[in-house]
Subunit: 569 residues, 2 copies
């Protein structure tokens, strides 16, 4: 491709609202453009990278035995009501009415559509297992689209779905996808980690993993053990603490004792004013969930994990009660609420249950209690892991390593769905003994446009993007430093044709621009190999600039193709 | 691919509402499934054919110098209001409100989006010309979706747009696309014809061509000259008739004469009851357009072409006035309305103007006039081509051949848009002398899903589909007649592996089914070469069934691969 003909405009500056490196660089280097909030066009360079990603994904899906299909984007709203997801998705769903006032959903994911398809196609165990995938545009009306392609409202996905007769089959399909995902992300040049994840609105009874591209701007926190292979999203990561107290130990503690804490309502105030250790304080929070109030106890240095809490409470979602509700329910303002004598159900974090003794609100304005003993002073009937794991705490899986935290961008997610969708939508098969059974499903997604941005986020330097070989829009970027120099033109054309014959994708900067402009643009665009054809062209020499290592060396024209082909897999 | 693992269910019967062969066969052979009216899923076989079409289209677009982009499906409604197309598209547009009550259009086409993109990227003549294309899902809320993929509400398209500085550049881009389209449709094995077409709602000032797949079920009628190369959609086809009368000739005719025609209000009645030749009758119709009424004269044997009429009247659309309006305006019921003395503007078809004398309504109940002379008895101020050409009439272009009519399915449409969109949306460039000028645009579309159905419509026989080589989901279909026969299994596996090594896509029917079922399914599915491995397997012989010619011959296993590879391009 001759750059003089390519639709490509590089920008000196990115818009002020582009805060992440990937967002800035993809805009500046002319890969994408915003049409509306969270809605992007791919310019030719961006489309090429996206196509390269699609190609890798298709190759690995096919190799894993998945079959490609294409489902509609317009999905009847009834299907989503049948599965019970229409309401919970709420405003994230984009919906429309057709001319006959029938409601449709613009698919953000396709469990319903694929289950409805397969229930019509497969009725016998003899046609199972099967795994289907598609590469498609998805829609989700994010409340706050941001970071360019990282969180958009219209985006590209690969979604796959497996159908099996039993759990063992699901495990096989799941593991096959797990391995395919590892290959895909490796080929995309990503530094990634698979972590155990919360199932969220997808439901499902089995395990699930998120694939995370490690990046400081990631919205997810990953807890990774330094010793064993346990790694999980902080939303899901198991937190330590074991309830070890015995009745004798409890009895040995002195009585709980009231002390004056005027105006000291927060953990920070107690720590600063009275030099109390935060880990010795029991925080009492009032939450509401599905219309009921309950009290939640966590250590002063810990944070409630609302997903874990909702699961422990057996409700769909939880939120902190407001001040008014706290006063009414606990008889005192928040900050002085405590578990002793409280007339609300208690849910107690394991780490609190493991405390020998602690400091808690006294249930009375301006007072706290010390020597509060869990199990003695309040019931330990409902103990659960309801907090976020903390960085540096001992891994509860191996009890050897400690948690290190990383930030990550979710680029893939695989789920063992089980029968949630097949039961709701009636996707059943006849087993060998002639009985109807629901199919066992798994689902497997990769955000292709997000993956593109995640690679850009991980692969750039001060000059611009640095594409891994398989994703680069072109393999080689030739810069003809003087568009009018006849000697350079001859060398450039010969190289361009020779590379084309060798099947090496080449972008040729043949524009009538100053050398500085060409170097700057080549740095921004990020093609792995840059060949600079300048003054030494007459001597049969070009400069070979390896963008990633930054090394520049003078080589003879004759070496170019073998050098590049040799550097490629 | 082993058929036992493929998601493929063939159907004995197609649903009753599937009337066209392509719709029936694509359903029966397991290529597509309906999710909602006009909304289809592609099963693995259908997806493969669609991917083959996409591959051909991309190759030919790239070869024609077009650059691939990807624009969003969600388009801000303001963009469509800016271009003036939001209102005229009416209910065909699918629209939705996002969570912030901003309105979006689901793109049925992307002139607005691409023009808005390019106006931001290109500001100088030095970056022109450029042609961009994309392969994308489109949405159009058809009032009556039908014939499966032929007229859907969600469909696959390739759309391309060219931007030039002058008309000559547009002509070059247009011709390059014309040739690329010919190559694409030829590679898809279609019997097609390019015809001149009406621009419709797309607007534009230049020429435009439709590419039509010839098929009896086509909704379009094509008028094709038997002698010259003129071919046009009937909507657009020029109709004959030249105004040759002179004042002397007119004066030589007898006076117009009133005669009694009680109850004879239609052309058919006049022909049957009074044996009047339909071509000697002048039909007078009252139309309304943009709020005004006018009278329209065509010959009794001709049909008004409302697109031509609207253009001649200078209005956006026309419709026949109702009886009430006719009585009020003409003072008599329709059937007796005539041009003589009529107090309405007249638009006269060329063929009427060419009549020496004719019979027309008298403007009085139960009476007609004979010897009505155009130009003498009513003004010929406004004469135009406002009728459909008739089959068998002399081609007005060459005046040698006659029109033959064909039915066609529109699979592609190319337009010279000119500056319609660039002016409305401000896509201007600085020319060499530093002046701002609007870019000159062309647009070029292919309905990929419709193309798939059009090929199926043209390529089938009594047994089922017959895919052209480049589109077939697999090149070879091996039938192992007995799944349990060890000898057959050995031969089949050897062939399957050998074909795979030769890069020949193969579907292997390894199912435990009766031979009759396998033959029937192979006939339906339509893979070009079927290899039947049956009783002669032990002697190293297989049956080679060429689906298209229907020939079946016994060949040795050793010949298979060279035979198939030799038969392919």
């Amino acid at each position: 491709m001759r750059q003089s003909q390519l639709l490509l405009t590089t920008l000196r500056d990115a818009p002020a609202d582009a805060e992440t490196a990937s967002h800035q660089l993809l805009l500046r280097a002319g890969y994408i453009r915003m049409l509306a909030a969270g809605i992007y066009s791919y310019l030719p360079l961006g489309r090429r990278v996206l196509r390269n990603i699609e190609h890798i994904v298709r190759e690995e899906m096919d190799a894993a035995g998945a079959q490609e299909v294409l489902l509609p984007s317009l999905l009847p709203a009834e299907l989503w009501k049948e599965s019970g997801r229409f309401e919970p998705y709420g405003k994230d769903l984009m919906t429309l009415m057709d001319r006959h006032e029938r409601q449709f959903v613009l698919g953000p994911t396709h469990e319903e559509a694929i289950t409805a398809l397969v229930r019509g196609e497969i009725s016998s165990y003899r046609k199972l297992p099967v795994t289907l995938y598609q590469v498609q545009t998805k829609f989700r009306d994010e409340r706050r689209p941001r970071s360019g392609l990282l969180r958009g409202r219209e985006f590209q996905m690969k979604d796959a779905y497996s159908f099996d007769t039993d759990r063992e089959g699901l495990d096989i399909a799941y593991n096959r996808m797990f391995k395919a995902y590892e290959r895909i992300f490796t080929r995309c040049g990503l530094n990634f980690k698979a972590v155990q994840a919360n199932a969220g609105a997808m439901g499902g009874e089995g395990g699930n993993h998120e694939f995370m591209a490690l990046a400081d701007i990631g919205e997810d926190t990953l807890a990774v053990c330094t010793s064993c292979d346990y790694a999980a999203n902080l939303e899901e990561a198991e937190a330590g603490g074991t309830w070890i107290a015995t009745n004798e130990q409890e009895a040995a503690q002195p009585e709980a004792e009231r002390f004056h804490t005027p105006g000291l309502r927060t953990i920070d105030q107690l720590e600063e004013q009275l030099q109390l250790a935060t880990h010795s304080i029991i925080k009492t929070l009032i939450y509401s969930g599905d219309g009921t109030l309950f009290a939640v106890l966590v250590r002063g240095d810990h944070e409630v994990n609302e997903l874990k809490l909702a699961a422990a409470a057996g409700v769909t979602a939880v939120s902190l009660a407001d001040n008014e509700a706290v006063r009414t329910a606990a008889g005192v303002e928040s900050g002085y609420v405590g578990p002793v004598g409280l007339k609300l159900p208690l849910i107690i974090d394991k780490a609190v249950a493991a405390m020998e003794t602690g400091i808690a609100g006294a249930g009375e304005r301006d007072y706290h209690l010390r020597n509060v003993v869990p199990g003695r002073d309040f019931s330990l009937e409902h103990v659960a892991d309801i907090r976020n794991a903390a960085e540096g705490e001992t891994c509860p899986k191996c009890e050897k390593g400690v948690y290190h935290f990383h930030k990550g961008i979710e680029i893939g997610h695989i789920f063992k769905l089980g029968t949630r969708y097949s039961e709701k939508l009636g996707a059943v098969y006849l087993d060998a003994s002639g009985r109807n059974k629901p199919m066992i499903m798994g689902c497997y997604g990769i955000g292709l446009s997000r993956l593109l941005a995640a690679v850009a986020e991980q692969s750039h330097d001060d000059e611009g993007l640095l594409w891994p070989e398989e994703l680069a829009p072109y393999q080689v970027h030739i810069l003809q430093l003087s568009a009018k120099d006849q000697e350079q033109a001859v060398v450039v054309e010969a190289l361009y044709n020779e590379l084309a014959r060798a099947g090496i994708g080449t972008l040729l900067d043949d524009r009538d621009e100053r050398p500085g402009v060409k170097f700057k643009d080549a740095g921004l665009i990020g093609i792995p190999v840059v060949l600079v054809v300048g003054k030494s062209a007459g001597e049969g020499k070009v400069e070979y600039w390896d963008r990633k290592s930054g090394t520049k060396e003078i080589i003879s024209n004759a070496e170019v193709v073998s050098r590049i082909a040799g550097g490629m897999r």
